[in-house]
């Protein structure tokens, strides 16, 4: 495939950006260049200590500058005369970048050293197409365009995972990132995972045996999946399906609580994807103060707060990474919204995160690509480091999971202990 100039620039790690030194906690600013020598102790594959790596998928294109605004920037104020939050309301992270006022839990985690921000991050090419960029994000295989497996499934393949709960996603459809040869578990609610009282098969075991036999020839994905579904269903019967009251009574609350319940029951999830229920495709009426975007961020904050409380000590072995297909145009459009853009921001949260830092090769708001914030950090950099350091994945396996990608650690997570 031919890549655009920006891609080469990224791939080669060349940068002429004015670095913003925003990291206070570690002294002297942990930027890409300063962590080259960071030694990373990788745990063995399948290490019991390895983290559950969770993506929170904000489909629709999350604006990274509404999430992580530049404070006191006159350019931003000019580009977004009405569609931004006031600096007085933003939650300052380091004096240069802040958080949207609704992201209070993320601010707390940042202050506790458990949340890091990567700003000006995204896919290396960037087409401004939801569907192409989502596929690219989830395949994460730019040098292997024929792939049909998603990166999360390749992660499971690389660790030799075979258990049906090693990969999990909420929703009614299997996300591309999770598709592949390792069977995974996808369901929307606990109501839909157990076999009903079977009427003429009062003895459920007889029905289950029949279903197993009917799907035993392995000739299709449906057959193979059915075997796994029956096993998964039985194991899920022991998982409490009730939602603790601490969660918001929303789709997102239900999804986070389902994941927590499965983790607390020791089902052995290695990676999970939470489809975030929100409206991020804000072409019109972004709702930065009390509309769509405010609701999105409130929901994220509330859900992470409840989830952390719910899972207790398991938090020490969780890394949550937010992903989105692109950010949005720097300048607001004529309808109080934002069209599709390129770079966005990512949040990395968890007990093993080297938090309290905003990691960026900040491109600034004036040197744009056709009005978009430039991607200066490839999102795969974040995934690679999390998989390697917190997932215990050796470097050679990383290159199988992310073909053609040379990982360079950002220093956003701590070694497993």
């Amino acid at each position: 495939m031919t890549a655009c100039p920006e891609f080469h620039e990224l791939a080669n790690g060349i940068t002429r950006r004015n670095f913003v030194k925003t990291v206070m906690a570690l002294g002297g600013g942990v930027m890409l260049s300063s962590v080259d020598g960071l030694s990373v102790t990788s745990a063995a594959i399948g290490d019991a200590r390895s983290d559950v790596i969770i993506t929170v998928y904000m489909r629709g294109g999350m604006d990274g500058l509404l999430a992580v605004p530049v404070l006191g920037d006159p350019t931003l104020a000019k580009l977004r005369p009405t569609q931004r939050t006031r600096d007085a309301d933003n939650l300052s992270l380091d004096g240069y970048f802040g958080l949207h006022p609704k992201l209070t839990m993320l601010k707390e985690l940042y202050d506790q050293g458990q949340m890091a921000v990567i700003q000006a991050v995204g896919t290396p090419v960037g087409t401004r197409s939801h569907f192409d960029d989502q596929r690219a994000l989830e395949y994460a295989a730019y040098d292997n365009p024929g792939t049909t497996d998603g990166w999360q499934n390749r992660y499971l393949q690389a660790m030799g995972a075979t258990d049906v709960f090693s990969g999990y996603s909420t929703g009614f459809q299997t996300p591309t990132a999770l598709r592949g040869s390792v069977e995974t578990t996808v369901f929307e609610s606990f109501n839909s995972v157990t076999l009903a009282k079977a009427g003429n098969f009062t003895n459920r075991d007889n029905l289950i045996a029949a279903l197993k036999n009917l799907h035993s020839d392995g000739a299709s994905n449906w057959q193979v999946a059915a075997q796994h579904s029956l096993v998964a269903s039985e194991r899920l019967r022991s998982v409490a399906g009730t939602t603790p009251a601490i969660y918001p009574g929303t789709t997102n609350g239900r999804r986070f609580s389902a994941l927590a319940a499965m983790m607390k029951n020791g089902l052995g999830i290695k990676t999970a994807n939470l489809e975030f229920d929100g409206e991020f495709d804000i072409h019109s009426d972004a709702g930065v103060v009390d509309g769509n975007m405010a609701t999105n961020f409130q929901s994220l904050s509330d859900c992470v707060r409840a989830f952390k409380q719910d899972i207790g000590d398991l938090w020490n072995n969780v890394t949550i990474v937010t992903v989105t297909e692109f950010g949005r145009r720097l300048e607001q459009n004529g309808s109080n919204g934002f069209d599709h853009g390129w770079a966005s921001a990512m949040f990395v949260m968890g007990g093993g995160v080297r938090g309290g830092q905003v990691v960026t090769k900040w491109p600034g708001l004036t040197d744009t690509r056709d009005g978009d914030l430039k991607v200066t950090t490839d999102y795969r950099t974040v995934l690679a480091e999390v998989m390697k350091v917190r997932g215990g994945m050796p470097a050679d396996k990383i290159s199988q999971i992310l073909p053609g990608f040379q990982a360079q650690d950002l220093g956003i997570v701590k070694p497993l202990v």
Binding site: T174, G199, S229, S335
Partner: protein
């Protein structure tokens, strides 16, 4: 019993929501060509009962203007979208224009507007754009969709102005509705497409499109190989330029291929062969995008028959096919609306059916994004999908959840098996398979079904008469057949 040909099964399983005995009889009497002609005839009369039932609904028969001022839609617009969704399900089950109904679903996924978008106008979008053109030409359908108020709302058309062209619609026009990203268009093409569509307003009082020169980006525009001076000084000029662009894009060979591929993905296989796509694309180009012509090319291609079983039924097709094949109705009575209730259709059998489709994540027209519900097996093969399908099979076979008992004796006697004739297990499984799939199962799978069915607890209930025992055998077999992969494919 008569074993259907592969041609019959291909046509009836792919082009209907599951064939009934009446569909099979009609097909056999007419033959494929005449049956297809009949299904593609835009003047084909609807079944009188269906037509009469549809006439009893209020909202789907009102204009935009009437909907805006008519209770209960004026105060609770959701009633309009629910009515559209529920009547759509009714039509899928009962319409004798089955091919047409499958086509409506295909086109609604192709040029989608989420059903919760401007519910009062969404009814008109379905009726006046999709249904009115489903047996016509795609370029015409696409033009009408592009300037319909429901689409103008869904893809930010109202917000697209001269000063700030909103790219939402312009981008999807290229990416999803015409050439797709298989064609290397540029950001400039997107911006120019957005400029062409800037300034389209809608006049709710007059119920007409209002292209507005002072909100329209004026000046020369170029999109791919198309250029236009785009003076945009009058409403007529704005419309003419936009129409010209849509026609140009819709008639490009790249669009023909994209349309063909997408239609073949719906009806033939997740990854259709390049041969059938090329054949359908040629038909599209030669007919200037005539939809029935493309369908004929698809049905007449050898892949159409050889691909039988290649597609996984999506959830709502799975549901509708079960009701049609088992000849059971949605649970309870249809409500045509109760003004005393805020939830206008509360308790209606069709509302219950819509909620069932939502538990599968597949309620009609309720996909959030402009690319339509996914149409591949990989997307829909999940734990909850499989469990929910099996649970539904249990519900229908046992007549629970408000559903009536299937008339097993009637269904099986239609396939030549009754309590008085041969009713050994093999005969019952073969009859059930023919009823459900139009073919008998492989001997191995038939044995598996029997081995499972004999374990049904109902078979050993004391005091069963011979008739009751026969029904229970049919019930056990039907339940398991509905749980097979065969039932989930077409």
């Amino acid at each position: 019993m008569q074993i259907p040909t592969a041609a019959e099964n291909s046509a009836l399983l792919k082009l209907t929501y599951g064939p009934t005995p009446a569909d099979r009889a009609a097909f056999r009497a007419m033959g494929l060509a005449a049956w297809l002609d009949d299904q593609l005839n835009p003047n084909k009369a609807e079944d009188p009962t269906v037509a009469a039932t549809m006439a009893k609904f209020k909202g789907i028969n009102l204009s935009n203007a009437q909907l805006l001022k008519t209770l209960p839609y004026s105060i609770r617009p959701r009633n309009a979208s629910e009515e559209l969704s529920e009547t759509t399900l009714y039509r899928r089950i009962y319409s004798t224009r089955q091919m047409f109904e499958t086509l409506v679903e295909f086109l609604e996924d192709y040029v989608p507007v989420n059903i919760k978008t401007e519910p009062s106008k969404r009814i008109s979008y379905d009726r006046d754009v999709i249904r009115a053109n489903a047996l016509g030409d795609f370029p015409t359908l696409l033009w009408q969709a592009s300037v319909h108020p429901a689409m103008l709302r869904f893809l930010s058309g109202y917000d697209n102005t001269r000063q700030h062209p909103n790219e939402n619609f312009g981008r999807e026009l290229l990416e999803l509705f015409t050439v797709t990203t298989e064609t290397p268009y540029t950001q400039t093409d997107v911006v120019n497409a957005a400029r062409v569509f800037s300034g389209f307003r809608w006049d709710d009082k007059k119920q007409q499109l209002k292209p507005t020169p002072n909100a329209h980006w004026q000046g020369s525009v170029k999109v791919l190989g198309w250029t236009d001076p785009n003076p945009g000084r009058t409403a007529a000029q704005i419309s003419a330029t936009a129409y010209s662009l849509v026609r140009y894009l819709a008639l490009l060979p790249e669009t023909a291929t994209a349309f063909a591929k997408r239609m073949a993905r719906r009806y033939v296989a997740d990854s259709p062969s390049s041969a059938i796509v090329a054949s359908m694309a040629a038909a599209y180009s030669q007919s200037s995008g005539n939809i029935p012509t493309v369908i004929r090319a698809m049905v007449n291609h050898p892949d159409f028959v050889t691909s039988l079983g290649a597609k996984l039924r999506r959830p709502t097709e799975f549901i509708v096919a079960a009701l049609r094949t088992l000849n059971i109705a949605p649970p309870g009575q249809i409500s045509f609306g109760d003004l005393s209730k805020n939830d206008y259709f509360s308790g209606s059998s069709l509302q219950k059916l819509r909620i069932l489709t939502a538990t599968h994540g597949h309620a009609p027209f309720d996909w959030q994004y402009p690319n339509g519900y996914p149409d591949t097996e990989a997307a829909w093969t999940t734990l909850s999908a499989q469990m929910t399908r099996w649970n539904n099979a249990i519900m229908w076979a046992n007549g629970t959840g408000g559903y009536q008992q299937p008339d097993f004796a009637g269904l099986f006697s239609g396939q030549g098996v009754s309590v008085d004739s041969g009713n050994d297990w093999n005969s019952i499984v073969d009859a059930g398979s023919l009823q459900l799939f139009g073919r008998v199962l492989s001997p191995v799978r038939r044995t598996t079904v029997i081995a499972g069915a004999v374990k049904s607890d109902n078979l050993v209930r004391p005091g069963l008469t011979a008739d009751q025992l026969f029904v229970e055998k049919c019930r056990a077999v039907t339940l398991l057949l509905l749980c097979t992969e065969d039932w989930n494919r077409r």
